[in-house]
Structure formats: structure tokens, C-alpha cells
Amino acid sequence: MSDANLFAQQAANRRRSAWLVALFVLFFAWVGFGGDYAFYLLTAGAPAGQYHHTVPFIGLLTTAAASVLCYFSWKTGPRRVLLAAGAWEVVTPASPAQLQLVNVAEEMAIAAGLPKPTVWVVPDQDLNAFATGHDSRHASIAVTEGLLAALDRDELQGVVAHEMSHIQNDDVKLMTLLAGMLGAVALLSDGIGRYLRVGGRMGGSSRGGGRSGGKGNNPLGAVLLIVWVFTLLIAPVVTRLLAMAVSRKREYLADATAAQLTRHPEALARALQKLDAASAPTRSIAQGAAHLCIVDPAERKLSDREGIVGDIFASHPPIRLRVARLRAMAFQNAKREGGALPA
């Protein structure tokens, strides 16, 4: 069996998102500890009695803040996302469509070799779906009523497989981690920004003057400090862009993993086109949970835009590109099996 394309696409997206995450962590480390290093250099030459910045308070505090944020959003996030969307759990299927949904979820859990996730329905007529959970063994999949009504069994299976792939690839944890770091960076940036503004207003005051008094003795430290403050001011934007880039790679990865689970990429491609055609916004899903959804729930989808804007700001890749990649996998399957090409 040669699923070369399928596995190659997964490997490529895994590698790329790993690089992006590494970049993210490096940037976070610079934002956290860069200032400490600058202060260390600035105060190193100070006389014995004066303050020496030897303990990296800023970095430690930022890391601690990020850890706390991560922990809380990891612990309470899944429940909050489901509650905010107004989702209800399908315990005993009441209609044929619900039975089908529960069955499909079970089938995909089997294909992924994981326990069955809990299944939820969001009372919204738009077509969307998302996954959430603490880890791959305690996860939930939610789909909108509109999606349940509009897709056939194979397409529904493709969508559920995509969500199951997010669970299997640990995307919920990854994105929670990134969101925690993002929050901590935003807090720090906000704090320093406020401090600078207040400091600027009190420009000539004796306190401000006194602080900058002993700093002239280390030019490297001064340059580092300026660069650090500057990066700190743009940090919220940079971290958000990096997180979005990771999110887009994970979407491609989830599409490719879904194709591995169902071995039927064409069905997911068809489902994505239907989701794309139903362009109404998914009002019940908050934009904060966008990275967990199968398509961007926002009203004016940035992911519709190909080219530079979509490449920078969107949480999801353009649907047309996703469909094209899935079709490429379907084409390879058809070629291998000598079957007919999908219409």
C-alpha cells in the first residue's frame, strides 16, 4: 500500500509547525528574559552598595503568568467552549441523524485507535464543527445542527475525522499552550507600555531622571534594552501572527490525518465545499475558539483570502487550497486502484 502523498503531507506539516512552535518559544524567551539580560548588563558595573539585577524577575514572572494561564484554560477551557456555544451532549440519540453522528464518531475513534469522544450538538443553522478536550483520551466533538442536516454520511464522516485528527494530533493542548503564552506576552506588553506612557508624561520629574542615572556605563545593555522594549511593544501582534501560522499548519495536518483515518479524502473535500458555500457566520461559536473549528466561524472570513492577507492573519488556510490538497490525495488513491476519478 502506498499512501505516499498522504503520509508525506502529514510529515511536512508536522515539521513546519514544529519549526513555528520553536520560533514561538524562542520569541517568548526573548520577550521574557531579554529585558532581564539588559538590566543585568546595565547594573553589573554599578558600585557594590547599589542594585544588581541578578535574578531574572521579568522572565520568571512572565513564565509563571503563562503557566497559570495555560493551566486554567486547559482545565476549564473545554467546558467553557461547549457552554459558550450552547452545545448539548447527545447521550441517547433521538433522531436518525443523531444516531448517525454518534455512530460516525465511534467509527472514527476506532480508526484513530482512541476512546470515543463525547458528542455534542450546537443549535446553530450554520455549518461548522469543533473539537475540544483535556487530552486525546478525554475529548469532545461538537457539530452544528445545520451541518447535521446538510451533509451525507460520508461527508459527515470526513468532518468528524478532521476533528478526531485534531484530538489525535494533540492540537487542543498545543493551541492552549500558545494561547497561554500569548496572554502572558500581552499582559507584559500592556504593563510595560503603560509604564512607559506614565513615565513619558512625568518626563522631567526627579524620579524618572534618577532611574536612568547610572545606566550610561554599558552601551550593549542600553541597546539591548531599547530593542527589548521595542519588541515588547510589537510582541502581541507577533505572537498572534505566529500562533495563526501554527494553526494553519495544524489545519492542513488535520485534513491529511483525516484522509488517513477515512481513506476517503474526496468526501472531506466535498464537505468543505458545502461548508464554504454556506457562508453565514457561526454566531454561537466565539472567535476565541476559531482554531478548534473546521472552518473559520467569523462572518468575514480571512481564510477566504488567498495571498498575503490570508497568509498572515487567517486562522485557517483558504478552503480552495485545502480542497485541492485533498483532491490530490483522492486522485492518487484512484490512480492506484484504477478507479474512476471523482467528479
Binding site: P96, A97, Q100, N103, M108, I110, A112, D152
Partner: protein, 190 residues
Amino acid sequence: MTTILFLAVLAVILLWGVGVYNGLVSLKNQVRNAWTQIDVQLKRRHDLIPNLVNTVKGAMEYERGTMEAVINARAKAMGAQGVKATAEAEGQLTQALGKLFALMENYPDLKATKNVLQLQEELTSTENRIGFSRQHYNDVATEYNTKQQQFPTNLVAGIAKATPADLWVIVDDQERAVPTVDLSSRPPGA
């Protein structure tokens, strides 16, 4: 100095060996677990068949031969042991079921009843589950087989008592083509 270097190299090799050994054992258990998952789904299928036969028996009394073939294949499949024998017996059951489903197409009234519709969704799902658990088993077993044959993991494979796992191969083309339980049909009124 040389003794320290020698000991360090030895420690690294030992650690690597332990890691590979544990990896193989974990994969072996995953293969075993994947197999029991297939078993669970096969049992589900075996449990559903009497239900199906009872439901359609009245309406399809002229197809007694086909129904008996299903019942016999089910009995044989339930008694099968080991990967190869089970794969073969279940393959025959799949064929017999496929024939029955094809005949059911001739009874539109029967197909439209709520009971049969629900049963059909359950059977569709069961056939899918068997397929997916088989796919998962084959994926894990292939990974296990590849690992233990690759150098240098194969040096540890003997110590970990790793032997190649049998794959569940679909034998004939007819079976390959059968799973047309009308998978794409949507339940009406959904």
C-alpha cells in the same frame, strides 16, 4: 580517561537498548489491543445478524437459501480462531450479507420501515467499524513489523521476543467490492 569514555559509550548503548525494547513491547501491546478491538466489532456484527434475519424473515420468505447462508457463515465465523482463519470466515460472512442486502433492494416496502432503517444504519456502522478497526490493526501491525525488521532495532527484536504480526488481508476481489450497504444514503426526515 579511556575507561570513563568506554563506560559512557556503554551507558548510552544500554539506554538506547532499553528505549528500543520498551518501544517494541509497547507496539506489541498496541497490536494486541487493536486485535481485540476488531474482535469487539465482530461480536457486534454477530449479535446484529439474528436481529436482521428476524426482521426480514417474514417479508423475504422466498430468499430462505440466502438467509441460511448468512446464518451458517455467522456460525462459522464465530468459531474461527487466529488472524488468517478469522479473516477468511468473516470474509465469507461479508459476502453472504452482501447478497442479502442486494436482495433487500427488491423489497422497497420492507426497506422503508423504521425498524429496518435503524437496523440498516447500525449494520452500516458495524461494517464501517469492522473496516476501520481492521485498518487500524493493519496500520499498527505494519509499524510493528517494520520496526522489528529495521536496522538497528532488529538487534533488540530478538530480546523483546518480537515476531512479525499477521496482517488482515482481503483475499478475493469479490469481497473487496462488496461493502455496498448503501453507505451514502441519508436517513429520511433527518
